[in-house]
């Protein structure tokens, strides 16, 4: 359960980071973002990845959670890439 919640947070986090990148914005959101909003997306993305870490550490223990976090980040990034490819396909 913790794994799924943390992966969701990681997907949201990487999703925001991806949407903050100029070259992926049209694919992800359908439009270009003004640069202050882009900045906010970037901050939100980073914060969400830290939220995933907090969820992991709270749910699985400090050490175990930290290790699992790396796996969740990988899974989250793969999912966002899959979404991106699906939207552009």
């Amino acid at each position: 359960m913790i794994h799924i919640v943390a992966i969701c947070a990681a997907i949201l986090g990487f999703g925001c980071l991806c949407a903050a990148m100029a070259r992926h914005q049209t694919d992800m959101l359908g439009r270009k973002l003004p640069s202050p909003v882009q900045q906010q997306f970037r901050r939100a993305g980073g914060a969400l990845l830290l939220v995933a870490l907090a969820i992991d550490m709270a749910g699985l223990g400090i050490a175990y959670g930290a290790i699992a976090w790396f796996g969740h980040l990988t899974t989250g990034a793969v999912m966002v890439l899959a979404i991106l490819k699906w939207k552009t396909a």
Binding site: C18, M21, Y64, I67, F70, G71, T74, T75, L81, L84
Partner: protein, 524 residues
């Protein structure tokens, strides 16, 4: 011309990656499979169904060993666990005075028991354990050499990772960059994406892999401070010293209370291993080691009890920062502590590593093909890389599927059955290599990948025809292991089939353009 730092790193990355790429690919495939070694072993021994209580099973194993091997030097017992339903025992036979210990076959000094201490009749196989051992011991060669070879490959991998990070200019800007259907560009994207997404895992797994065999690769610290490596291990992991038998017989106390006491003192953690030295003698000792699945650090604590009285003689906890660090690193590498969720993450990261190495190998040829003086007739080195790529990337998976098929198809009573399962793996692997050498390169890719896909597709079918447990019965009875295994085989089959289709399209395009060109030449 002065090369830039990044260019020299790119050179280093290319050639270190290529030199050990094929071995690294094999290590990644078998090492990744080893995260499920117990599950693979259970699938390969479908006769074993019932699980047993570890404490009573250990007691029953002791009763069995007392009748079968009363004068053994020592008994070693691995109780059943959540991932392994049987008790595995082996023993060190009595030494005969003045004679060097003879090498015996595995089945003469070991047995597999059920919860009541009866030997189970089960097909002879090395199961997932073979894949685990292969990823650092290889096969058909002395273990020491294999480990040097594997160590060199891991060292080159580390070099390739670091030089790769430097070479990859836009790690963040190109983080989500994956373009399909663009030839070399697509291969580079795939290589980058698989490399970057699980980069912390690759760094960890390569570095900690080297640490697991550090005393072999860097023996000088031990050599400078100890008379022999044995004295070193004796000091780091005490309790190995042999005490001579006194000759006075004394029965062993029941092991259940000792196991319960040990488990309590480890906060409820299970027992991973029980060793009985000098069984039946009044000098007997019982050493109980903590199971590896409850803490990240691999080296578990142990407790030593007197055999006849059951009094606690010694309590061993790994001490010192260096040992603790090593223990955690080995634990991180092997992932024995990992629960199901984390185990799948390890497995998927391992698959990512396999794709990263494989795409890197293919990239080497894709990048160079266009620049060849005569692309239709490449030089020997180029052809060698091409063929070895096919043999590694399509051949090893085919061999793996053959290993599983052999497990179901070889007769139970066959001599050296376990060894022949392994031989099947290498025969098919070598067969694909030969095939790749004698076929046109693009055809060879299509055929080898299709062959591997077909073999994986055959596994669930052959399984359903030969044993009574499969995906359908598993869905009904809740036998999830067999459901998951069949699903994994089907997934691998689809993935390899998809790769074969992609390769076939490329081949079609290449033959069409070649035909076009020759037509133009004849009309001109």
């Amino acid at each position: 011309m002065k090369e830039s730092f990044r260019q020299s790193m790119a050179w280093l990355h290319t050639w270190t990656g290529l030199l050990f790429g094929w071995l690294l690919f094999a290590m990644f495939v078998t090492g990744t499979a080893a995260y499920f070694q117990h599950e693979i072993s259970r699938w390969m021994r479908p006769e074993l169904v019932a699980t047993a209580d570890p404490v009573s099973a250990t007691q029953a194993a002791i009763t069995y060993l007392r009748t079968r091997e009363p004068d053994a030097e020592s008994w070693f017992i691995t109780p059943p666990s959540a991932r392994n339903p049987v008790t595995e025992v082996f023993w060190q036979p009595k030494k005969v005075e003045g004679q060097p210990p003879t090498r015996r076959k595995r089945e003469e000094t070991s047995a597999t028991l059920d919860g009541h201490g009866h030997p189970v009749t089960v097909r002879e196989t090395r199961g997932g354990y073979f894949l685990y051992r292969f990823h650092f011991d290889l096969h058909y060669m002395p273990v020491m050499w294999a480990r040097y070879l594997v160590g060199a490959a891991a060292m080159f991998m580390l070099v390739a990772i670091v030089s790769g990070i430097i070479t990859h200019k836009k790690i963040f800007a190109d983080f989500f960059m994956l373009r399909f259907g663009k030839g070399q560009r697509s291969w580079l994207d795939a290589h980058n994406v698989t490399a970057v997404f699980a980069l912390p895992f690759y760094l960890m797994i390569t570095y900690t892999g080297l640490v697991t065999l550090a005393t072999q690769y860097m023996p000088w610290g031990v050599m400078a401070n100890y008379a022999s490596t044995d004295t070193f291990f004796e000091e780091v992991f005490p309790g190995r010293a042999d005490v001579p038998r006194s000759g006075v017989a004394a029965p062993l106390v029941p092991v259940s209370s000792l196991m319960a006491m040990a488990s309590r003192s480890w906060g409820g953690a299970g027992v991973g291993f029980v060793k009985v030295a000098n069984p039946g003698d009044n000098t007997a000792t019982i050493t109980i080691t903590r199971a590896a699945d409850t803490a990240i650090a691999a080296r578990g604590e142990s407790m030593v009890f007197a055999g006849p009285s059951g009094t606690l003689l010694d309590r061993h906890v790994p001490e010192g920062g260096a040992l603790a660090t090593q223990s955690v690193m080995v634990g991180l590498h092997a992932g024995r502590y990992a629960g199901w969720g984390l185990r799948w993450l390890y497995f998927l990261s391992g698959i990512g590593g396999t794709i990263m190495v494989g795409s890197g190998l293919v990239l080497w040829t894709v990048k160079r093909r266009a620049k060849l003086p005569d692309p239709a007739h490449p030089h020997f080195g180029f052809r060698l890389v091409e063929r070895l790529n096919i043999a590694a990337i399509a051949g090893l998976p085919a061999g793996l599927a053959a290993y599983f098929l052999a497990n179901r198809l070889l007769p139970d009573a066959m001599d050296n059955r376990a060894e022949w399962e392994i031989n099947s793996l290498f025969l098919i692997w070598a067969g694909v290599l030969l095939w790749a050498c004698f076929r046109p390169q693009r055809r060879a890719w299509v055929e080898s990948l299709s062959f591997a896909a077909a073999l994986f597709a055959a596994v669930p079918i052959v399984n359903a025809l030969t044993v009574s447990r499969n995906m359908l019965t598993g869905l009904v009875t809740g036998d999830w292991l067999f459901v998951a295994f069949d699903m994994a085989m089907v997934t691998l089959s689809f993935a390899l089939g998809w790769a074969a289709r992609k390769a076939a399209r490329v081949e079609l395009k290449a033959t069409r353009s070649a035909r076009q060109k020759s037509k133009e030449l004849t009309t001109a």
